[in-house]
Structure formats: C-alpha cells, structure tokens
Symmetry: C2
Subunit: 195 residues, 2 copies
Amino acid sequence: MTPEALTPERILEATEEVLRRHGPAKATVVDVARVLGVSHGSVYRHFRTKAALREAVTERWLGRTEAALAKITADAGEPAPTKLEHWLTELFEAKRHKAGDDPELFATYTVLLGESSGVVERHLTELVGQVRQIIEQGSRDGVFTVGDPEAAAQAVFSATARFHDPGYAPDWRRPTIEAEFSAVSGLLMRGLRAP
Amino acid sequence: MTPEALTPERILEATEEVLRRHGPAKATVVDVARVLGVSHGSVYRHFRTKAALREAVTERWLGRTEAALAKITADAGEPAPTKLEHWLTELFEAKRHKAGDDPELFATYTVLLGESSGVVERHLTELVGQVRQIIEQGSRDGVFTVGDPEAAAQAVFSATARFHDPGYAPDWRRPTIEAEFSAVSGLLMRGLRAP
C-alpha cells in the first residue's frame, strides 16, 4: 500500500482484524503494519502510540452503535414512548449481536474497554444524552411527566443495565431474556408516563 | 473443644474467620479444625467435603441479608409502596456495608459465589419471591396495578441490579450513587402505581 492510500480508517480496519486474530494480549503495531503492507512507522504517523491506536479502534467499535441509535433519536416522526422502547430494543440487539456473532472480538473489546475508561465514559455519556433527548421530546409533547430529564435518563439507562452492560453478556442467551427485557422496559415506560 | 460442643454454626464461624485470614485460595479444612482445636475428621463429620463447607458458609452469609429483608416483607403494618422502597434501600445498604466494611471478606465471598451457582440461584429466587409478596400485597390493597406479579418482581429486581449486584460494588462509593438509587427506585414505584 502506498503511504497516500493509508487512511486512519484503513489502519483501524486492519487493527480490528489483527485483534480478532491474535487477541488483545498479543496484537502489535508491527502486525497491523504487516497486514497493510507498510512500515510500522507509517502506522505511527497516524496513531502516535499503541495505546492511542487501541483507544481509537475501541471508539470506532462503540461509535457504530452510537450512530445507529442517534438515527432513532433524531427521527422527528416517532412519538417519544415508542421511540424510547425502540431505542432500548436496538441497544440490546446491537450488544447482543456483537456478543453472539463474534464472541472472540467481543471478548477482545471487553478487555480494551477495561483499558480505556475515558472512552467508555464518553460512550455512556453519549448514550444517556440520547435517552435524555427522547425524554425531553416526550415531556414537550406532554406524554412523559418527568421533573429532571437528566436524572430520568440515567435512571432508565441504569435500570436496563442487564440488557446492555457487557458483564451480563452470558445472560443474553437465556430463553427468558426477551420476556425479562419487555417487563423492565414496560415498567419504565409506565413510570415515565405516570400522571 | 469437645466433640459435643462442635456445632455446625461454630464450624461456619471458624470457616469465615479462616477465609478472612487466608483468602479463598489458601483456606483449608485443616485450618478450620486448628482454629476450633479439633481434628479435621470432626469437621468432616458435619460437612462431608470442603466444597460442602464452602457452600454452607456462603449460604449463611447470604442468609443474613435474606432474614433482615424477610422481616420487612412480613411487616403487616407497612403499606406496599413504602415497604418496597424500604426493602430495596435495605438490600442496597446491606450489600454496600458488606462491600465497604470488610472488603477482603466481600472479595472472598465474591469468589465463593462464583463456585456455588446453586446457592446464588436459590438466594436470588428467595429475594425475588419477597419482592413478589410485597407487590401482591400492593395489588390486593389496590395501590399497585400489576398484571403479572412474578414478572414485575423480576423486573424490579433486575432494574435495581446496579444497587445490589456485587459486580457493581466499585460504583457504590460514588458520591452520586444515592441520588441514582432514588431516581431508579422512584421511577419503578411510579411504574407499579400507574393506573
């Protein structure tokens, strides 16, 4: 690959590939450079340290979920209560697919999440912010009665942890998990709508 | 100690002491016998294997919280909504104290919980059963409107996981945790009371 063709996105794709193949303990910048057919110096021109590269690939992984959820959040046509249920379902689905379809990569990212507390913090702030926007929409439209939208958003996010926190990933294969999700999300919706 | 004085309860007390001192990896039945001044054969007469002893001490540890909560559950004088908030607060307090007051012992029991999935399962069933009783009381009294009390009890328990699942113990020292607990429990109460 010529240096001109070497974009950050190409490097991050290759990094994910290397992480999937070697695991987080063994993956090196030299492996990434080899996959791309460039020197490791070329990689370091885009990401100054190995830690920066790992953080960027983790951010990209989390960013995909954020982007899919942001689309739901921004949809002006959907009323807040169905939108919030839709949003929570989508978050659960996204996490569950990541965990189920590619368990090695999921385990790898779980290790990386432990390394990059700043990235995780930013991700959680972004997601709670989206929930807050939906709750604010519902308050404006008079379907939600919520005194403090930020506190309510954090409460909804925390109350659904079982369905998005990677620590609960083993539970996501249980046959009863869908019914449990519906019961929790239904109860929260009733709480937000209460007079 | 004479063999007559050696009760299961004395053995479990000594086991907890040994676990606290040596940690779960190093604690042995011989250590327990030494603390009690008896032969290890005497201990095995009450608990047939080391695994059975570890399970029993874990059950006893969890049982203390169950007993304190059962008292709240059984109190005929308290209306269901305040009782449920009281119950959830007490559960959070109990777990938080166990984690904060004696972190080594808490870490030890967290390891033991991982070994005894049957004991944990039974503990969770007991706690969800208590929540169900409170919800049923509230339904009878017309203050809760809940179609399926078992599903609602599981939903309440799962939605408050952040405040009782030992995996979240590091979060329990955050200054905002009390406000977060109030927001979640308030939202759930509103959901249960909704018309």
